[in-house]
Amino acid sequence: MSNFTTATSTVDLTKIKPYGDTYNDGKVQMSFTLPVPDGEEAQEAARQYAKLMGMDEPSVTHHSDLGIGYTFFVVYGPVHHTVDYTKIRVTKVESHVFDRVECGEWIAKNIGRTITMVGASTGSDAHTVGIDAIMNMKGFHGHFGLERFKNVNAINMGSQVPNEELIAKAIEVNADAILVSQTVTQKDVHIKNLTNMVELCEAEGIRDHMLLLCGGPRISHELAQELGFDAGFGPETYAEHVCSYVMQEIVARGWVNKK
């Protein structure tokens, strides 16, 4: 299928462009900050910058002084590039997603024991909201966290947990899965921290009986593969996605009766 019909016209999916006011006008809005004080020159700089990025006749629709010599801009204008939607392949975690209650029942029926997951926001990362959303009772967006799941033992160690401590805990409780949350990606700190995690797990020889998952706003399943994790979860993940994946993987890998 390379075409589908919108409210007004037929879209060529091999060449899609943004829609602003009319079909295929390519209108894009973007925002950025320049390290110069607000003024005519600053606005011209913003326009030129947008032009260099491929925007035709950009108009600065908003500018505000951020103080100490910085200005925030919103620029609007058309771009010509197109994307072939039919060639897009996105890799996703491939497992059926059960809801919370179904997960509990599935575990009882297919695994027959409580499964244990240990999680933390690791390294220097102090962001707890993501891992709490997955693990804590309360959950997120009306989706309860793993602590509320039947037959799941969820241990959330909090934030700024060194990789070593997280692994030590996982070994102590003989976990089925380790859940690592990483939010800060500046200067790629998360990459070093995540590969260090994988390497320590290898050195400890636990990868043949523990799943290694990572998650966070900039984490994708593809990145997880590149780093050597078993799975990666980005935005809009809920506890049921994680539990569904872990329990099905335990069965698929034959870890039901692990010692």
């Binding site: 491939e94 070593e164 030590a168 070994i171 994988v198 320590l200 290694l212 994708s220």
Partner: protein
Amino acid sequence: MGFIADIQKKYKTVSIVGMAKNAGKTTALNYLLEEAYDEGLRMGVTSTGRDGETSDLVFETDKPKVYLFEDTIVTVPEQLFGLAETSLEILKRTSCRTALGQVLLCRVARSGYVQIAGPGSIMEHKKLCAQMFEQGIDMIIIDGAIDRKSIADPATSDAIILSTGAVISRRIKNVVEETVHVVSVYKSPLVEDEKLRAILEKEDRDVFRILTIDKDYNVAQVPVRTALGAGPIVNDAIGEDTRFVYIPGAITERILDHISPAKLKQVTIVLPNPTKVFVGATRWQQLRKMGLHVQVLENIEVAAVTVNPFSPHGYSFDRDELLNAVKEALPGLPVVDVRVGGLDL
């Protein structure tokens, strides 16, 4: 005779291990595959992460693609199968599961660019390599992901090729220091005490695998499942007569920091192999000066070192300067700039 032919005579499974992301592993891989093709060697290729995608998922920089010659055996997970730019014949669905689906064992039906990925876990790689050899290949190259070094484990790899380069530091001196550190850790002294070796090789304890061995070869288990986070317990377990501490898992700066200076001098720390060392170059030097002794049951063979004078962070070194500095610091090891080729052994 080519470099690869020389390596292939000695080693059947060789991993390319990067000192850092963008140290030039993929360039090294392409270079070796080309040489292998010229020599008429039938190759197997796999990766501990993912390789061959045009732009880097981690740093979003341009990245060389992997070109595979006809008849190469390669591992491709289901979700990347459709992304190959040439035809692949599926030989087998392995039981190995990755983030991108089940791993397929494929034969390259027509030379071309392929996205390669394999299991993240080293134990899975060992199994996978055995299946690849069943296809009658001469040699396997495993591409290590990012800066992951665990694939150097002698249980999986007969030897490694270490890729280093400008990406590590803006100063050549630091690049050389870090590289020498890794090579020297990989060449840690082997356990020579045969009695000790015999004890450790037959030790197969289930839960408490960390051991202390005293001067009369009495063995005691340290009551922890891992040394991680248990530095003080390991320290307490070292008695007056303890001569060796066997740690089958990782040793890190945090663990060693808890061992008292006197005990650190008194004992030799024994590891299965050098991939267990997680101590940076500077701290390692300090600890060595304080009397740290490490011995290993098995060592890692470094077959060659490749250097890349370019950093994707926008700077580069003079290629001869880097090449010569690394050569000088690692006498006896083949060092090559893979972009130029022309390895002199």
